[in-house]
């Protein structure tokens, strides 16, 4: 991995950010471990929240990376290294799941035998919602994602010293079925890890809704990172305002897709008004949860949408500097809004472990991702498709 060190990113703040991320991660991790001894129940809740936030970002990056291989547009090359850095953490995140295996009865009502014994509906769902099958499914998802991550990064690393089309074709051949596999595995993972926290409730749109949020958060993060480093060599050769304009449009598309799914779920449940469905909505409309819902809709959709739609070609780059962190942070709030109300049906409540656990996992995750990023040049310069893009661009700007 170190053979590209001379061309790797020599951008000072990146090292500084990595150190800060690690320090924050380690300190928050120590506090979280302390929290486990104080209140194991809240520890597992906070840990699950942190886990689904960060694996969601990494999975969104995996989906975008595969979309990049399938579409081959220049926008993908601007994001490629940032996506790869996030995807590289997937095997690590797979290991991070282990603590959760010890908290299943604390987290999931269907894993508490005493509760299931009194509940005919949960007994009926036992063939799917039971501890051994849950563990097997989780292991399958994590293995599939880690495997795809390992293969894609292996080929990409080899591509750095070879400009043959073979490696790119291999990545494309994986990406086509890979995206379909991602859609199913990420959807089932969302159902298992998040939706089954409220096991009496169900929504058939849930998986896709979570996936749309994942990809949106990933796109916001990668675009923001690429915007931040756009003047760094070699990224500056490709990153033009035109490409960021395109990325803004892509962000707009995913923003609409995510809010569409979120709203349609709300509309269908609201119109049906059935007892087993409406409780999920009512829970999120009451007490403090209403404010969280409003933050997600207004700051997570309305404000970034208006800013992106109203920005022309030139101001788009500046607008993106505000919009990408805003979307990323509100998507984290969105995951919080999906997961945590399940734990506090009586009103809004936050426990300090719900801050430290996501910070711990996020700090360690970011530190690991930046480790990958710093080892590699910001553009896959040997990629034959990138060479083609540069050649096309040269032809069109050369004065005749």
């Amino acid at each position: 991995m170190g053979q590209n060190n001379e061309t790797a990113v020599q951008f000072k703040p990146l090292g500084l950010v990595q150190r800060i991320a690690f320090i924050v991660g380690v300190v928050a991790a120590l506090l979280t471990i302390l929290g486990f001894f104080i209140d194991p129940l809240e520890f597992f809740r906070g840990y699950l929240l942190g886990y689904v936030i960060w694996i969601g970002v990494a999975l969104g990056c995996l989906a975008l990376l595969m979309m990049h291989y399938l579409t081959s547009g220049p926008w993908g090359f601007v994001l490629r290294r940032f996506l790869e850095a996030a995807v590289w953490t997937l095997p690590l995140l797979a290991l991070f799941f282990i603590p959760l295996l010890f908290g299943l009865p604390e987290l999931y009502p269907w894993a508490r035998p005493s509760l299931v014994a009194q509940d005919a509906l949960l007994q009926h769902k036992q063939p799917y919602l039971n501890v051994p099958f849950f563990m097997v499914r989780t292991a399958v998802y994590l293995l599939i994602w880690s495997g795809m991550s390992w293969l894609l990064l292996r080929w990409s690393r080899r591509q750095d010293s070879s400009d043959s089309w073979d490696l790119r074709d291999k990545a494309r051949r994986l990406s086509a079925p890979g995206l379909i596999i991602y859609l199913f595995t990420a959807s089932f993972a969302a159902i298992d890890w998040m939706m089954s926290l409220e096991p009496r409730w169900f929504s058939s749109i849930y998986g896709v809704m979570v996936i749309a949020g994942q990809v949106l958060a990933a796109l916001a993060l990668a675009t923001g990172a690429s915007l931040w480093l756009r003047r760094t060599s070699p990224l500056d050769e490709l990153a033009t305002p035109g490409l960021f304009y395109d990325l803004g449009n892509l962000l707009l598309g995913f923003l609409l897709f995510w809010i569409y799914l979120t709203f349609i779920q709300y509309l269908v449940i609201w119109s049906g008004n059935l007892p087993e469905e409406i409780t999920w909505v009512i829970r999120r409309e009451q007490d403090g949860w209403l404010w969280v819902s409003l933050i997600v809709v207004l700051l997570g959709f309305a404000v970034p949408f208006a800013l992106l739609v109203g920005s022309g070609f030139e101001p788009r780059t500046h607008i993106l500097r505000i919009v990408t962190p805003l979307i990323f942070v509100t998507q984290i709030v969105n995951v919080y809004w999906l997961v945590v109300p399940a734990f506090y049906p009586d009103g809004w409540h936050i426990h300090w472990l719900q801050l430290t656990a996501p910070l711990a996992l996020g700090g360690l995750w970011l530190g690991a991702a930046l480790h990958y990023l710093r080892q590699h040049p910001l553009l896959p310069q040997q990629d034959p498709r990138l060479k083609e893009i540069f050649a096309e661009r040269e032809r069109s700007t050369a004065s005749p």
Binding site: W270, N273, G312, T397, P400
Partner: protein, 181 residues
């Protein structure tokens, strides 16, 4: 300098490539010409900026259409189900705003689209049965494969000899034509 030829609408230069047209337009702008227009069979990114088309009037027209459509869409549903014919449907409130959203959205998009089409016609002056540029025989290629830059005689800097010389010396110019009014 300022001797206009009343017999002429302007001078037109022909190019084979979009980038040659862009270079030419930039050169003409730098030379101080303002009354000019470019003709191309395909959209050329960056050309409107070179030609000084910075205005965003279309954005505002479409925005007004969007808001009108949205207010209209929501208002119709609100009027029908709350004011004109209140009806208890499954115990839901009369102002069932979540179920009004799809129609509100559809009407907002519909009116915005009409505003865009009508606004486009209003701003670009179409339909226009006669335009002097069509007097140039080669101009019929403008909708197929050739690119044209026309500097109009109404420009303060326009001078038949100087402007012709300027256009003829642009890089990769294929021809310079007089445009009869």
């Amino acid at each position: 300098m300022n001797e206009h030829d009343p017999e002429l609408y302007g001078l037109m230069a022909e190019f084979a490539e979009a980038d040659a047209l862009k270079t030419a337009a930039a050169a003409a702008r730098d030379a101080g010409y303002e009354q000019m227009d470019a003709y191309s069979p395909l959209p050329v990114e960056g050309l409107p900026q070179i030609l000084g088309m910075h205005h965003r009037r279309m954005y505002w027209i479409v925005l007004v259409g969007l808001i009108t459509g949205g207010v209209l869409g929501f208002g119709m549903q609100f009027y029908a189900s709350v004011i004109d014919y209140p009806l208890n449907i499954g115990g839901r409130p009369l102002n069932s705003w979540p179920s009004f959203v799809p129609i509100t959205f559809e009407l907002a998009v519909l009116v915005a689209a009409f505003a865009a089409i009508l606004g486009m016609f209003a701003l670009n002056g179409l339909p226009q049965p006669y335009h002097p540029v069509f007097n140039v025989r080669a101009f019929k290629e403008a909708s197929r494969e050739c690119f044209f830059l026309c500097i109009q005689a109404s420009d303060d800097q326009f001078d038949l000899e100087d402007t012709r010389w300027f256009l003829q010396n642009l890089p990769s110019v294929k021809g310079v034509y007089d445009v009869e009014p």
